[in-house]
Amino acid sequence: MTLKKLLAATAVSTLMMTGAQAGTLVINSNQSDPAPKAAWGELIADFEAANPDIDVQVNEYDHEGYKSAIRNWLVTSPPDIVFWFAGNRMKYFVDRGLLEPVTDVWENNNMYQNFGSTRASMTVDDEQYGVPATYYQWGMYYNADIFEQYGLEEPQTWEEFIEVCETLKANGVTPITIGTKFLWTAAGWFDYLNLRTNGLDFHIDLMDGKVPYTDERVRQTFANWRELIDGGYFLENHASYSWQEAQAPLLNGDAAMYLMGNFLTPSFPEGSNYDFFQFPQIDPSVGMFEDAPTDTVHIPSRAKNKADAKRFLAYVAQADVQTQLNLGLNQLPPNAQAEAGDNKFLVQGLEMLSEADGTAQFYDRDTDPAMAKEGMKGFQEFMVNPDRLDRILENLEKVRQRVFR
């Protein structure tokens, strides 16, 4: 072990002295599903072709397992590049000194200009700690045939939204499908309702533990949520289903709408008529803020080959590379100079996000993991038993006080 380390250290220092010689770049990736795997595979192959002196080695991990595994490598023997998430998730490691600042990569590649929308989520104390590779929108995906059948329009306001739900329900269609078995889908609803009710600043304060969960404004968010629950607009027995299982009613016409991320769209069958609208406005005095989770690449501070890792980061930041990658991922490029794919969901998503007053990452990426776990359980319980709200909020408040002590 020590011998290996010693050899590696010697190898790195030799490399630095003699300039660029064949180096190995180790990348740990959480993109193991078929489509993302192929898109990243292509990017890496192109990178290797453009940099013949670098030999890339990729280790792939399953998306969930990766989240706990990364904590082990970062402290023990990290790769040169890790995939991770912007915002609070990144900050957690930055605060512990586990990620390398890459401010020079941002400076040398004109990134401050091209990555304006994601810059804040990559910055801690005026230093940048990674490069955003891709992001995607959240919003309401719906069955356009059903909307047409009942003469419905895309709702812009809360009142219109309630009306749409009411009409659908009256016609025996489940207005909103959702599967809360694995909790996070309920967090999507919480995020949007809270962003629309109280705005981004308040939302982020809540995520950072600066506002109590028992605050009157949080209660207002839940009151709006309750309107939908009491109306019976959500899919029955949603706690039994995963998010994928909850697609079934949407796809077979039993349900009309689904609040979800853009990764839902590949499930729509060829030739079907689905469309997208922005989550409706609740309070006109509150701006339109969106959830736009950003996936990023970083260099661990204990990485062995930081020089080549920075070259990789700069490569990922290039506009044409981002265009190509995100076509494959069916997502949006954070680089403003890059082009997004031209399917109707991405086009609408890009337009929506570029006009957004600000973006959040997602509940479980924005707040502390321990808080997120309890929070999401609370949301699920609330959706089934709205009468328990007081008890749920008191419990969350207790968790907040402990976590953000």
């Binding site: 072990m1 193991s32 280790n59 792939e60 991990y61 399953d62 397992g65 990766y66 706990s68 595994a69 082990n72 023990t76 023997s77 995963s242 994928q244 299982e245 697609q247 079934a248």
Partner: protein, 283 residues
């Protein structure tokens, strides 16, 4: 002897017994039968609610091929073998040595050591998670087959030692004494006398350990996480997320994963039961 042999009862009881027997077994295995049948159906069949009729179209080949072609199932199975077999050999070997020592020597701390093995064997192993995971990471073994092999060997050694000690203690002392008188070394006594005599116990233990380790899920979640080393139990539950509501594939995958221990069980039934029931008649 008890209850009264059915042959000595009334005609009516005899007939009802013979009817009840297959009925109960069918009821008992109903969940499995359903899974087996589901694994050869098409998804259309399942959606149409056809559970008990013959499949509209037989998808036996398609479904089982899909399990292997579209997923890492073959890799998971191989990983399970790579992990299970060394554990089986190592823990039985270590336990035979230890069991011999505890059974046939009188030395200080003998009872205390034996009690330690038993106690350790009975702990809810989840409580070991945090330190064992930490140790594994520090040894640089996290996410490698060695992480599982070493831990399982250590943990199963407790059970095996208890088992072996109880088996060896029943072997006649005179045999060992006569060998000692002839000047055989202790090691020789172990290899020449003990090992051949405990052979039936070795087989019983090996089958049991195979099943225990093959079916482990907890440690497969805690100590490894990439597809290259993940055993079949962790693999199948990961696949469940991927296959969504494709119950026909989930069923086929489950059957494939269950097959090795089931085959082993039917092949080695006598040893298996002998191993499990040790102590059910005395103690």
């Amino acid at each position: 002897m008890f209850p009264t042999p059915i042959q000595q009862t009334s005609k009516f009881t005899q007939i009802s017994y013979r009817v009840a027997l297959p009925a109960t077994i069918i009821l008992w295995l109903l969940p499995l039968a359903a899974v087996l049948m589901t694994s050869v159906r098409s998804i259309a069949d399942i959606n149409a609610g056809n559970y008990w009729g013959l499949p509209e179209e037989w998808m036996l080949v398609e479904n089982y091929t899909a399990v292997f072609a579209n997923t890492n199932m073959a890799r998971y199975l191989l990983n399970s073998v790579i992990i299970t077999v060394p554990v089986m050999i190592a823990s039985v070997a270590l336990a035979t040595l230890a069991g011999f020592s505890l059974a046939k020597y009188r030395f200080r701390g003998r009872i205390a050591l034996f009690a330690t093995f038993i106690g350790g064997n009975f702990v809810p192993f989840q409580i070991l998670m945090i330190p064992v995971r930490d140790l594994t990471i520090q040894l640089g073994l996290y996410d490698s087959v060695w992480a599982l092999i070493i831990f399982h060997t250590a943990f199963q050694t407790g059970f095996c030692t208890l088992f072996m000690r109880n088996f060896i203690i029943d072997l006649p002392d005179e045999l060992l004494e006569s060998c000692r008188l002839e000047g055989a070394s202790e090691w020789k006594i172990f290899t020449r006398i003990i090992v051949p005599l405990v052979r039936p116990a070795l087989a019983a233990l090996a089958v049991l350990i195979f099943t225990f380790v093959w079916n482990d899920y907890f440690w497969a979640l805690v100590l490894v996480q990439s597809d290259e080393v993940r055993p079949v139990t962790a693999g199948i539950s990961a696949l469940r997320g991927q296959w969504l509501a494709s119950w026909q594939l989930i069923s086929a995958g489950s059957i494939v994963a269950a097959l090795p221990p089931v085959i082993l069980f039917f092949a080695m039934q006598k040893h298996f039961i002998a191993g499990l029931t040790l102590g059910a008649t005395k103690g």
